[in-house]
């Protein structure tokens, strides 16, 4: 760390975790220039996976939204089709994920 110095044992422990942390989309070496965090872990989606009771009955977003949370807010190419190059229209028939998810095309590479 350049601007902070770990002093006690706990700070050193946290630093060792940060130093060994995985940074998304990064191949080797420290980040060049400003590091823009990507990925769904930075997005707060309340009621996305479980409701306030720990079940799925009262979700404020339908479970089908998972699909969109992966392909719009996250760059997670292994799990959804490549929206930007290969299959820009793969959700074109799906206006509402909750109702239309069956209409989503199957995409073959």
């Amino acid at each position: 760390m350049r601007h902070l110095k770990a002093i006690n044992q706990k700070a050193r422990h946290i630093q060792s975790i940060i130093d060994n942390d995985v940074v998304a989309l990064q191949q080797g070496g420290p980040p060049q220039g400003p590091h823009v965090p990507l990925g769904c872990s930075f997005v707060f989606s309340p009621g996305w996976e479980v409701d306030s009771n720990g079940g799925t009955a009262g979700l404020c977003q339908p479970v089908e939204r998972d699909l969109f949370d992966c392909h719009l807010t996250c760059f997670w190419p292994a799990h959804v089709p490549d929206l930007y190059n290969h299959a820009p229209d793969w959700t074109a028939k799906c206006a509402s994920a909750q109702k239309d998810w069956r209409k989503i095309d199957l995409i073959f590479p």
Binding site: M1, H3, K5, I7, N8, Q9, A11, H13, H35, V43
Partner: protein
């Protein structure tokens, strides 16, 4: 993405260095001028990293500001508004915590009649007459077996003898420790023994036994004659100082293998920390001196009230300053309250519970009932089992669940909670009638004192880091 300051306490060392004590991780970091400026800017309101770069552009490059922001995010000194730090949950310890220390209340009788005694005084929890006055040999041996069983794989166990006046049951102490050492040898476990005494009964024969059995000793003593004899008196009102002094001198002269500590009870009438320390450390020669304010309901005449807490704080701070001078000069200082806190700060302890009571430490009453700690031994309401039937784990779990720091709403915004965690259960029970309550009467005091210890820690980190290395 707007950024916001997370919980921390900022403090300085002796020089110009700035530090953060992060909450709840209890990490201590030194920050440079840029990180300070970032935090200072965010103190005025949330900002995005881009705004911060613009605000600070006259002094720092964009790359520097972004790196600083990343580092502060990584340590959770700041967070993005959209992703606030998770609220802590009252979870059970991830690993089973074995019993490490068992305190045996070997007798409920005492030959002194200290006015402030929590066991006999106006705030007592247990009616002594309802229990045997002395623990018998069979119960003591059963307690030792209980300790070994509950300690699981721990290579060391701590057996502490307590009272009443511990040495009034000296005969039983001898057999209990001999049995513990014999069982320990058979099981391959080390038995670390200690006792607390008022020193009135420390005769040569007993000192022989203490020395040859390597027993750690803490002496309850309140200071010089005048201070000691204010409350620590015999039933006829006669002070105990002149009786105990030769005994203590004899013990200190002969017991060299383990440090002998003094434990002082501070009252509204006895708050002169500096003179007490000077007498006990320099004149009598105790290895260390620990101070604790008397545990009492607020209306007692010896209770320490607001003004007294201020006096106490000033006294502690002055003595802490002496401690720092000694540490910087490489001299040993016996103010154990500071040393203990520095060690906790260095390790980054973030406590879910204020102490080990009911977890790694339990107290046994004379009849073998097991309770949270020695102060509750014999209380049915705080019973966790018996040495004969073992720990009632359902009851223990229930206790741990209720007393977790995450369930103490009053503590949830206090930066000192990683070290304090609400304070002593017994104090809370005496003041508020419930162990669950945090000790709100000394919050300001705890924060001021913790800040003092952090400043000492910061100064040592700057000027003599090798002192802190002893805690690694």
């Amino acid at each position: 993405m707007n950024l916001r300051r997370s919980e921390f306490h900022a403090f300085t060392g002796a020089g110009s260095s700035r530090f953060l004590y992060l909450v709840p991780s209890a990490a201590v970091v030194q920050i440079d001028d840029l990180s300070h400026a970032v935090l200072d800017t965010l103190a005025a309101g949330d900002q995005s990293a881009t705004d911060l770069v613009a605000t600070l552009s006259d002094r720092w490059s964009a790359d520097d500001v972004r790196t600083s922001v990343d580092e502060l995010l990584g340590l959770r000194a700041i967070h993005t508004v959209a992703a606030p730090p998770p609220k802590p949950k009252a979870e059970k310890p991830k690993r089973h915590i074995p019993l490490q220390t068992l305190v045996l209340n070997v007798t409920s009788k005492c030959n002194l009649s200290c006015g402030y005694c929590y066991e006999y005084g106006e705030d007592k929890i247990v009616e002594a007459k309802t229990k045997p006055r002395f623990m018998n040999e069979a119960t003591a041996k059963q307690s030792v077996d209980f300790l070994f069983t509950e300690a699981g794989d721990s290579p060391t166990v701590n057996l502490t003898f307590f009272g009443g006046e511990t040495l009034m049951n000296f005969k039983m102490l001898q057999s209990a420790l001999a049995y513990a050492r014999e069982r320990g040898a058979a099981l391959g476990k080390e038995v670390n023994a200690s006792l607390t005494t008022n020193a009135t009964l420390l005769r040569e024969e007993i000192i022989d036994w203490i020395v040859s059995n390597d027993v750690g000793v803490t002496v309850s003593i309140d200071g010089a004659r005048e201070q000691q004899d204010k409350f620590r008196v015999f039933a006829n009102g006669m002070g105990s100082y002149d009786i105990i002094l030769p005994n203590i001198k004899s013990l200190l002269a002969r017991h060299r293998r383990r440090p002998v500590g003094a434990r002082v009870t501070l009252t509204g009438q006895n708050l002169d920390v500096a003179s007490i320390y000077k007498h006990l450390f320099e004149e009598i020669g105790f290895w260390e001196v620990g101070f604790a304010p008397v545990t009492t309901s607020w209306q007692r005449e010896y209770a320490i009230e607001d003004e007294g807490f201020q006096t106490l704080l000033s006294g502690f701070q002055a003595l802490a300053s002496d401690f720092l001078d000694a540490a910087l000069a490489g001299r040993r200082h016996g103010f154990s309250n500071v040393r203990d806190t520095l060690e906790e700060i260095h390790k980054g302890m973030s406590k879910a519970y204020p102490c080990g009571a009911g977890l790694g430490l339990m107290g046994v009453a004379t009849d073998g009932d097991v309770a949270l700690c020695h102060r509750f031994a014999g209380s049915d309401a705080h019973k966790l089992g018996t040495v004969f039937d073992g720990v009632d784990h359902a009851r223990q779990d229930d206790f741990l669940q209720k007393h977790h720091i995450a369930n103490k709403t009053d503590c949830s915004t206090c930066w000192a909670r990683p070290l304090c965690a609400g304070g002593c259960y017994h104090e809370a029970h005496t003041r508020y009638g419930s162990t669950v309550e945090p000790n709100l009467h000394y919050c300001n005091w705890i924060r001021a004192w913790t800040n003092t210890c952090l400043e000492i820690y910061g100064t040592l980190a700057e000027r003599r880091p090798e002192y802190l290395a002893q805690f690694d």
